[in-house]
């Protein structure tokens, strides 16, 4: 809209940012639905668990019959049965809180919550209890968004806070699920545990090749397994200059450096080479979609490098020395997000000092 003075254009409308974000999440969404369905079929066949009483299994059986053929349509149906209810619960919860805060503040309703609900869904276990979804999403929307005044005003990502709160509150939930026994509850991945116990042969034995992990046909949280889809979405965000490439590259550098350092120490998971670290767990997804959230990351370029390198290194550290967090991405991103104002503060301090030195006071 042309305004009457000073500012002439609405070149970078907030809607543009929100539309780009939704576009970027589309590839991940497709892989998420198909892979979740596929993993369901694989696990079900492996564990021979017909009629476990799980409502999702009953729903799939209602749709496609008892004998599940492992074809793409069954996988799609099974995937939708898992993703859709969680997504709806997250959307409704987030939408209601957004509405409540919009009404309370006399502000317009902001559609940014849709992106948050989708991201939150992707961080959920396929057989998550819908109560956990509502609980986590509510916590994130209220304490990391609503009370700060909405989009761009909070210092933490609501998704990150919501997922972390679910992980912390229900650490043991779903770890021994009859079907999904290859996923370590909410923290997402048993691949790293498998490696820890049995080395690279353990991964090969479970049928996980590097390329499988890259494309995303591995068991894990619903949407975070595919590195390829995350890169595709990340390319959109970086190209449109919503996300910072420096931040993404910084994370990769940090992760590579830290894993090389740990590789010099032999024993267990410390041996895991960097290229496996990159594709396992929710590293790629978390970095591209959560760490680059402009409102809760560093705002200066040097700060972005620093934040990325610290976070990448911490993720490896947490993965290899702390078996209770086999993935480590969520707690690290949360921690570093909280650290980012401090990093910026230091960068600004240096900038001011440099300017003073250059001009002699």
């Amino acid at each position: 809209m042309y305004s009457t003075n000073g500012i002439l254009f609405k070149l970078n409308h907030i809607d543009r940012i929100q539309r780009l974000r939704l576009l970027a999440i589309v590839p991940v969404f497709i892989v998420a639905v198909l892979n979740t369905g596929y993993q369901y079929l694989v696990s079900r066949a492996l564990n021979n668990t017909t009629g476990t009483g799980d409502w999702r299994s009953r729903m799939i059986e209602n749709f496609v019959g008892e004998g599940l053929e492992p074809d793409i349509f069954t996988a799609l149906a099974a995937g939708l049965v898992h993703v859709f209810p969680v997504l709806m619960a997250a959307l409704l919860t987030a939408g209601i809180w957004e509405r409540v805060f919009a009404a309370g503040r006399g502000r317009q309703f902001d559609s940014g919550f849709i992106y948050l609900a989708v991201l939150f869904t992707f961080f959920m276990h396929p057989s998550v209890s819908l109560f956990h979804v509502v609980f986590g999403m509510s916590f994130g929307m209220v304490f990391a968004r609503g009370i700060f005044g909405g989009e761009g005003r909070s210092f933490l990502s609501p998704v990150l806070v919501g997922v972390a709160v679910v992980q912390i509150s229900f650490p043991a939930a779903l770890t021994d699920h009859p079907i999904w026994n290859n996923i370590a509850g909410y923290s997402g991945t048993t691949s790293l545990m498998t490696y820890h116990q049995e080395g690279l042969s353990g991964l090969t034995w479970s049928g996980i090749e590097w390329w499988d992990a890259f494309v995303g046909i591995t068991p894990g949280l619903m949407g975070t397994t595919s590195v390829a889809a995350a890169i595709l979405g990340g390319a959109i965000l970086v190209f449109a200059r919503v996300a910072s490439l420096r931040l993404v590259v910084g994370h990769i550098i940090g992760l590579v450096m830290a894993s090389i350092v740990f590789n010099t120490v032999t024993g267990g998971i410390m041996d895991l080479p960097w290229y496996w670290h990159l594709v396992l767990g929710s590293f790629a997804f978390g970095v591209i979609f959560l760490a680059t959230d402009p409102s809760s990351s560093c705002v200066t370029n040097s700060g972005r490098w620093t934040q990325g390198i610290i976070a990448g290194g911490l993720i490896v550290l947490l993965r290899v020395v702390n078996p209770s967090h086999p993935d480590g991405v969520i707690p690290v991103l949360l921690l570093v997000s909280m650290l980012s104002p401090l990093i910026d503060h230091i960068v600004i301090w240096f900038n001011i000092r440099q300017r003073a030195l250059r001009h002699g006071g």
């Binding site: 070149l11 970078n12 006399g106 989009e151 200059r241 996300a243 402009p294 200066t300 370029n301």
Partner: protein, 410 residues
């Protein structure tokens, strides 16, 4: 080379907003006849600085704004153009050039950093910059404009070099051929790239950084240099300047020759067919709306931009109207996307600066380099930031505060 059309205007004005921080003493009254080049206003604090009438005619409107500041002083053209002719000595020294510039009103085209105000006649600059590059969209090409009066440009530049005893940089694009300037003090500085490569703020940052106020470079536009050369040659300032007129509401960009401070109505008359338009003095990036009492060509503007008025602004996302249960204010925040880094003035951290401006933290803004900046340097930030804040206005508030503190300290 495009044809340059001579355009006669019926009205011209001096605009208060071209001279931020200046309080005026008005020397004429409404109804008074004035000559072209006759002083009509004076700087209240520095009475040597005179503002002269751009055309000959009658003072018709003196419009005032907040705290009785002058918004515009308008002159309607008279029957015959009569100009004050100043005596110009054959051999000019620094003081007489200074005096000539003050008396002719050309002094008011000088700007200094920090603050972007008219420099004090008693001060000495630490560097002097002639801006002969314009990277704003649809701006006229300085080379073509200077090629119309090359001698005047050379003369003007030589006079400026004689007036100040510091290096005089002529900032230009590498493709621009300029007439030779005979002076040992003059240096050529070339700048390449898209906007903001043509802004004096960028040149100053590279050539003579202001820093925390220890340096105070002055700068002037190329058309004003031509006008000074004209003044020295003939005893009167150049009666006209070249402006381009373009924008989405026009099929092509045209070049016009009009008087200083010409009424935009007169300028766009016969050029634009569209009825529903919005006229901007200056470029899209950092121009001003030319409306009502401010509907005149700005002093430092070399172009007029004409936009069509669209009634449906930006197509909003359809889903939003579905959710729009209660209309409420939509206050969008500052979202620190990486776009901002490209729009930022050189050497300035964009987001910390914008936050300092938004909360009015004068001290922090100064530390981050606000003294190097004026409105035009931060105009791009407002375009890129989703909050659509006018950072230029916020910066001006900060600068006036800093200026006040500085003069109190002295």
């Amino acid at each position: 080379m495009p044809e340059i059309k001579n355009k006669t205007v019926t009205k011209a004005a001096l605009l208060g907003r071209d001279y931020p921080g200046t309080r005026f003493d008005v020397l004429v009254q409404v109804g008074d006849p004035v000559l072209m080049g006759q002083p009509v206003m004076r700087d209240r604090r520095r009475p040597d600085i005179l503002f002269t009438s751009p055309i000959a005619g009658t003072v018709t409107v003196l419009s005032r704004g907040r705290k009785r500041s002058v918004v515009s002083l308008q002159v309607e053209v008279g029957s015959e153009p009569v100009a004050t002719v100043l005596d110009v000595q054959d051999s000019l020294d620094a003081d007489s050039i200074r005096d000539l510039m003050l008396r002719s009103g050309i002094w008011t085209t000088l700007r200094q950093r920090p603050f972007g105000t008219i420099p004090d006649p008693h001060d000495r600059p630490t560097a002097f910059l002639i801006t002969a590059i314009d990277t704003q969209p649809l701006a006229p090409d300085p080379e073509q404009v200077i090629a119309l009066q090359p001698e005047a440009f050379s003369k003007g530049a030589e006079m400026l070099a004689k007036m100040v005893d510091v290096p005089v940089y002529i900032c230009k694009s590498p493709d621009t051929d300029l007439p030779e300037v005979k002076s040992g003090q003059v240096r050529i500085a070339e700048f390449v790239g898209p906007h903001p490569a043509g802004l004096p703020g960028v040149h100053i940052h590279r050539l003579c950084p202001v820093g925390s106020g220890s340096n105070s470079p002055w700068h002037i536009g190329y058309q004003d240099v031509i006008s000074l050369g004209h003044l020295v040659n003939t005893g009167r300032t150049a009666p006209q300047k070249v402006v381009s007129i373009g924008g989405p509401a026009l099929h092509e960009t045209k070049m016009l020759s009009v008087s200083q401070g010409a009424s935009v109505e007169d300028i766009i008359n016969e050029e634009v067919e569209d009825e529903e338009i919005r006229v901007i003095s200056g470029s899209l990036l950092n121009g001003h709306d030319a409306l009502g009492d401010e509907g005149f060509l700005g002093q430092r503007h070399n172009q007029i931009t004409v936009l069509p008025v669209r009634n449906n602004p930006v197509s909003d996302w359809k889903l939003r109207s579905f959710f729009e249960i209660s209309p409420g204010s939509h206050i969008t925040p500052l979202i620190p996307t990486t776009d901002l880094d490209r729009a930022a003035p050189p050497g300035v951290l964009p987001v910390p600066m914008m936050r300092a401006l938004l909360v009015g933290d004068t001290e922090r803004a100064r530390d981050l380099g606000a003294l190097e900046l004026v409105e035009e340097d931060v105009a791009m930030l407002g375009l890129v930031c989703p909050s659509k804040t006018d950072y230029g206005a916020l910066l001006r508030d900060v600068l006036s505060q800093l200026q006040k503190e500085q003069s109190a300290a002295v």
